[in-house]
């Protein structure tokens, strides 16, 4: 009995060894037809190229071969690769970013950040009085430049003013250090039409950037008015001062109809926070420039309180400067 068991195990081992030997024989390549297999990426790309390469190597037809060798393998040619979308010969769609850039109305040159420093008046040659706002361009320098290739649009990032390094975050300190400028109080981007409007980094934008007599657009957050009532905020007339009106002289009155719609409609003008939102004044005339002080005098008022930062740029609706 023991002998038979031993025999059985011996037979099993013999059988197993023969099975293994068979598997090796079936699935392994012979040394004569052994070759290097291509990397997986190239193998996959061979399916996706437009060009169908001719098979370089002939396929052995006997059974003892690899399955992968039955498929033709393209040669490793850098020309034959998957084309990027921008390289494909397709028309530019109306809704694409590329087309939108050509339609966008932008000034050619960059703008500058200035600080509002009050108002005064000037007399012209004829003796007419012109009220002007004094804008001070304080150490405005280019800190970064954005291009179509890298960012999808053209813009110049300008920093103005000066701030103590201890009050500036480390990432911003690194940003200014990379630009080679001192830490700035304020940083803002000015979009330009194309690469011709871009300026070198650390280039200073002075008051001489603007010419006397040119038109500019000025935008800044308006003065905050706090929580203001409906009469100030929306110009409502309020209610009569007398004749029985009780306690609601400055109120809005009715806020809607009756059962239909049965609710107050969205966007109903009501009391709330007023001011502190961006206001753009277009086509302000630059009356006078004092480059020795970095001052630009602009006709008329400018949004925002005194000492606040405003952005000035060439007027979009006027012809290009120089």
């Amino acid at each position: 009995m023991v002998v038979s068991r031993v025999m059985a195990t011996q037979r099993r081992t013999l059988l197993s060894s023969t099975v293994v030997a068979c598997s090796r024989r079936i699935f392994s390549t012979s040394t004569s037809s052994r070759r290097e297999l291509p990397p997986l990426a190239e193998f996959v790309s061979s399916f996706t190229t437009h060009h169908v390469a001719e098979p370089v190597m002939t396929m052995p037809t006997d059974l003892h071969t690899d399955i992968s060798t039955t498929i033709p393998i393209a040669p490793a040619d850098p020309e034959h690769r998957r084309l990027k979308r921008a390289e494909l010969p397709l028309p530019v769609l109306f809704d694409s970013r590329q087309a939108a850039l050509t339609r966008k109305q932008l000034p050619r040159r960059t703008g500058a950040i200035a600080f509002k420093r009050g108002m005064m008046s000037i007399f012209d040659e004829k003796g007419a009085r012109i009220p002007v706002t004094i804008l001070h361009i304080d150490r405005a320098q280019v800190t970064y430049v954005k291009t179509i290739e890298k960012h999808g649009y053209c813009a110049v990032q300008v920093g103005a003013g000066a701030r103590h390094p201890k009050n500036i975050t480390r990432p911003m300190l690194g940003h200014f250090s990379k630009a080679g400028v001192a830490p700035k109080k304020l940083v803002q981007e000015f979009r330009v039409r194309d690469e011709s409007g871009l300026l070198p980094i650390a280039h200073e934008i002075t008051a001489e950037h603007f010419k006397e007599g040119q038109f500019v657009d000025i935008w800044a957050p308006s003065k905050g008015k706090g929580f203001s009532g409906v009469m100030k905020r929306h110009g409502f007339s309020g209610l009569p001062a007398s004749h029985g009106v009780s306690v609601s002289h400055r109120s809005a009155g009715s806020t809607g109809q009756s059962q239909d719609p049965g609710r107050v409609l969205k966007g109903k003008k009501m009391a709330g926070r007023m001011g502190g939102d961006y206001v753009t004044v277009q086509n302000s005339k630059v009356v006078k420039i004092y480059p020795e002080f970095g001052l630009v005098l602009v006709k008329g008022p400018v949004p925002g309180p005194k000492y606040a930062a405003v952005s000035i740029q060439d007027a979009v609706k006027k012809p290009d400067i120089e």
Binding site: I122, F123, D138, R139, S177, G180, A182, Y290, F293
Partner: protein, 184 residues
């Protein structure tokens, strides 16, 4: 078993020579590289910046510190508009030739017709370049008031006609206007 608490030199932000004078101490922007945990006897090293950050010194502001551009510009403008200084002599409070409310004055304008206006000074509004004078005159039975910007280039000259008979007891003589109730 005690271990030595090693304090590594603080990895700071290196500053350019120009900036050193501006920054008072090296702790303006220094990193605490090692954090000592008490009673633990070891330290943690963290590398927060690989390369030091150079801080550049800011250029001086074009406006002198503490100055208001309006004052600077007004001084400039007034000296340009009034080079000889006769306007300042007539309208500055401290001047010996200063005009006062109640004086009669003749204004000559820079027009083709050499227009003039004679009237009593009702009010002098002193605002630097924006200084103006309100003159009142009775042309027949019609009262005419005129506000004249003193530093305007359209004003050629002010001629002093006469001083007030009695010194006006106030600066603004709006009472010279007729009483509308009486007229009705």
């Amino acid at each position: 078993m005690s271990r030595l608490l090693l304090r590594q030199p603080a990895r700071g932000i290196s500053v350019t020579e120009n900036c050193l004078s501006a920054l008072r101490s090296a702790t303006v922007a220094t990193l605490k590289d090692s954090r000592q945990v008490p009673n633990a006897g070891y330290q943690l090293n963290r590398k927060l910046t690989k390369t030091p950050i150079k801080i550049h010194h800011p250029a001086p502001c074009l406006l002198p510190k503490g100055s208001e551009p309006k004052q600077l510009l007004e001084q400039k403008l007034i000296s340009e508009l009034d080079p000889t200084g006769w306007r300042r002599q007539l309208f500055q409070r401290s001047s010996p030739l200063a005009l006062r409310a109640g004086d009669v004055v003749k204004v000559l304008f820079n027009s083709e017709t050499n227009q003039t206006f004679v009237g009593t000074i009702m009010a002098i509004r002193r605002r630097g370049v924006d200084t103006s004078v309100r003159l009142r005159s009775e042309v027949g039975q019609l009262g005419v008031e005129m506000s004249v910007k003193v530093y305007s280039t359209s004003v050629k000259a002010f001629e002093f006609v006469s001083r007030a008979l009695k010194k006006a007891r106030r600066a603004k003589l709006y009472y010279l206007r007729p009483d509308e109730k009486k007229r009705k």
